[in-house]
Symmetry: C2
């Protein structure tokens, strides 16, 4: 089939000849519709520009239509050639013009423990959890999107496959589309995907992208309760599912791959299975989107090379100070506490946090050099189906995000974590102390010694993390000659605090009394 003929058949392609950087270019091809077009399909395309080459997978989109999606990351002309075991899909060639855009591209790991967009702009994840929002009626989805616009959340954890619930098999919320062809356990055909299901899911991913929200898309989940069979599919089906999902979604700039939610509750999948599945995602995703897995009672080994960051469900790690630095040291990757219990009034104990406690856990995570993810289950709302947020933590999380974004560009780094459990920032420049429950009344101005020297001057803000106020302390503090471990204000002044819980201090360097040599400090635990 010539390019001209192709364009003639699929006029959409003309419109896509020019594509924004990090947008989606789509090759659409016609091919066989009979038999099982999903079976044994090999389809991909090589996109080239100068020394750069990408080879995304293609997929069957139903009704004789085959697609290959591409996310160009460099402006200018890209050429492509398709590869397929079907003659009519093979060796198609073409070109596209990638043009400047405001897209920032996929989020990557930056500076070991943090994140940045492909264009270099930093990304500080402040996520929320809305597992099932994509399975809701359209009105509810629109409400969810409206709600998100009013929050600071920039990442959403969501399932790619619905969990079984009676709510989804009867009444007005009955689901009619599933990832596989079929409508019930006894008629699912696991050898055929349902393109309509995925087209809808793509639209939802795109709508989140339009709001600047990263999608932590969960590939496998338990929760089937022996009903649909989606969590007991064969290894062969799982591998085809991964290939199909990655072929469809990898060109979305805002995709993160979450291999599973509560992986160990999927009883028939072992960690070795997930090893293979991670590697498959790596193989099919030409752009290297972020990859992790979310645990239940058996922790996957996040040290494995195909895991880009830690996606942890371990409540203790955010209930007390000092654990995130340990996790950073263990994994040497970004730590996201992706489930820290939910603000809510659930009958389940994992959904009974006050807004104060959820906010406290966020602050403990952040001042440990890690990140956290919000969740709410009030009157059974939000984490399941989205809708409205009625909790008190989202606005405090937004407040925290403002502080983090105004902080060191490279994120918060624990400062002297072997002996100081509640401080992070950037040595010599910026210190964020968080006091949690402690109704602290005064704080002696004494900093861990590293990168400090006599004469350095600091301004201090007293932050009420719950009432969302920032109060500048009138005095400027100036360091005396440092001692072995600490550097104190020359007048041994203290910072006064109101004696209420949930307070923090922001300490920022504003200049020096004079040029002073820095203290020489040895590594020492």
């Amino acid at each position: 089939m010539s390019m001209l003929l192709l364009y003639g058949l699929h006029s959409m392609v003309w419109a896509q000849q020019s594509v924004p950087r990090y947008g989606i270019y789509e090759i659409t091809l016609s091919g066989p519709a009979a038999g099982n077009p999903f079976a044994n399909l090999e389809l991909s395309a090589t996109f080239k520009q100068g020394d750069k080459t990408y080879r995304p997978e293609g997929f069957y989109d139903g009704e004789g239509v085959y697609k290959i999606r591409f996310m160009p990351d460099r402006e200018g002309t890209w050429t492509y050639t398709t590869h397929s075991n079907y003659a009519e899909l093979n060796n198609q060639t073409g070109a596209l013009l990638c043009v400047e855009s405001k897209n920032r591209g996929p989020v990557r790991v930056a500076d070991t423990y943090h994140f940045a967009y492909a264009d270099g702009e930093r990304f500080y994840p402040f996520g929320t959890t809305m597992y099932e929002w994509a399975f809701q009626p359209e009105a509810r989805k629109l409400q969810t999107l409206e709600t998100l616009k009013g929050t600071a959340f920039n990442k959403a954890r969501m399932l790619a496959v619905p969990p079984y619930k009676p709510y989804y098999v009867q009444g007005p919320t009955r689901l009619t589309e599933f990832p596989f062809v079929g409508t019930a356990r006894d008629n699912f055909d696991f050898s055929r995907f349902n393109p309509k299901y995925f087209q809808r899911l793509e639209r939802d991913v795109q709508r989140l992208s339009d709001l600047g929200i990263q999608v932590d898309l969960i590939l496998f989940r338990p929760y089937d309760k022996g009903q649909w069979g989606f969590d007991t599919t064969s290894d062969d089906t799982n591998r085809r599912f991964i290939q199909y999902l990655v072929a469809r979604f990898a060109a979305y700039q805002n995709i993160w791959w979450s291999l599973a939610n509560e992986n160990s509750y999927i009883k028939h999948l072992s960690d070795e299975d997930f090893d293979h599945y991670f590697q498959l995602v790596q193989k099919y995703d030409p752009y290297g989107h972020l990859r992790s897995i979310h645990n239940a009672d058996r922790l996957y080994d996040y040290n494995k090379p195909w895991v880009t960051h830690v996606s942890l469900q371990y409540y203790n790690a955010v209930k007390v100070f000092g654990v995130s630095p340990l996790l950073r040291d263990i994994y040497k990757k970004p730590i996201i506490h992706d489930e820290i219990n939910y603000e809510g009034n659930s009958e389940s104990r994992w959904g009974q946090l006050s807004g104060e406690e959820l906010t406290r856990r966020f602050w403990i995570a952040l001042t440990g050099g890690a990140y956290a993810t919000h969740g709410e289950i009030i009157d059974n709302g939000w984490i399941g189906g989205g809708g409205k947020l009625t909790g008190s933590s989202p606005q405090r999380i937004a407040f925290l995000r403002q502080i983090v974004e105004a902080g060191p560009a490279k994120g918060l780094t624990p400062i002297d974590p072997a002996f100081v459990m509640n401080a992070a920032g950037k040595k010599g420049e910026y210190y964020l102390y968080y006091f949690g429950d402690d109704p602290i009344k005064e704080w002696p101005f004494v900093l861990p010694v590293r990168d400090l020297s006599k004469g350095m001057r600091f301004q201090v803000d007293v932050i009420d993390t719950w009432n969302m106020s920032i109060t500048r302390v009138p005095e400027t503090f100036e360091l005396d000659t440092p001692t072995r471990y600490t550097a104190a204000d020359q007048h041994r002044r203290v910072v006064k605090l109101p004696g209420t819980p949930f307070m923090a201090l922001r300490i920022q360097r504003i200049g020096d009394a004079a040029n002073q040599p820095k203290a020489k400090v040895e590594d020492e635990l």
Copy 2:
């Protein structure tokens, strides 16, 4: 050389023909003394009994003497044949009779998170740190051994190679023997080991074994301060050092291999180097003694398959509750907090703990399903050179050991750790709650629901961990019908406590009111 001739030359061998189980059998052979007998030596022996075979390495012991040591683990007759690239050491054969003994053999991992001797007897490590005791004058060593007899410590961390200190190069404490031939930086011959040095170290390891104390022998250490060159030896030297050390010490039943102390401070060794060194230890040690490595500011990946247990220096992990369960889940191996700061009055902040605080950290470790190691630096004593213990924590650690040894045979397991941070034991049978600093006055009798059912009866001991008292509560508590998460006393009674810190509760099942079906509980975070 015939066996008879061999025996004639080395009459000691006759005395060793019969060797206790887990004792040391030693083949002694004569060979070349000229040149460098360490260079290119290949020497080992195959010991056989029925289907069992061991092939320990041999070593040159100086003055033309070559040795191969064997620790038989089964009674009865073992035969052996030697293998060597030196004709006179090759193909020597013989037999020994292994006889019953009270030796328990090497300590192994048991039940994933705990330890047991080879004979099956459980081993609960309550270690101490005496890095340099083996480099002290004999009188001081004897004092150290006397001190240990009066403690409950059953494991000692000690260096195989002395750290550089002025104290070791001048005056009466000047060292005259080193691991390598030579006496100072400019004359060490790293191609030759000094057998006399190792003979002395062996005697010290044996003396600890005679006291029932495991030796956590540290192979590599920093602390050379650019003086002797022991922490900048070449990879080739390091590999020969490992082979030599393992050949000499693997037959000691009480040996544990600690690949390094504060590994990252040995700047010229990477984690990849330690990967190789671990594998070498594995290769040369036919008995599979325990293997770990102790960190400074870069954590080795304890998930690697050659690491048998975690040997951690991470103070936060024992300052707060709830971290050891996380470490267990991350590593799925026994967790030993091998450095938790020291009781002492050091000028260094790592040596300034009160006895109360060190004891508190021990209890937090143990009630997290982990273990901890003691250290003391009072007036500069103990962790360096041994001698006397003057701190207040050793007797409290001994008290804790008694409680642990009287507890569940398989050790303490965290109970409901996602929601209860301070309880360990054995579900349905035994619960040890620890309250740390909290001056708790009463504790409602409510247990996590798993393995509990209505009618179960429990007795309660109030434990004052500091004053070392155990007070039985007169009442017997009996469970009401469990709810979703908890089972409470049928009369909703509380346990009274004195309102002082450092208290614990021991709750033991003593029978049931009647046979009652157990509650069915689902896995649920």
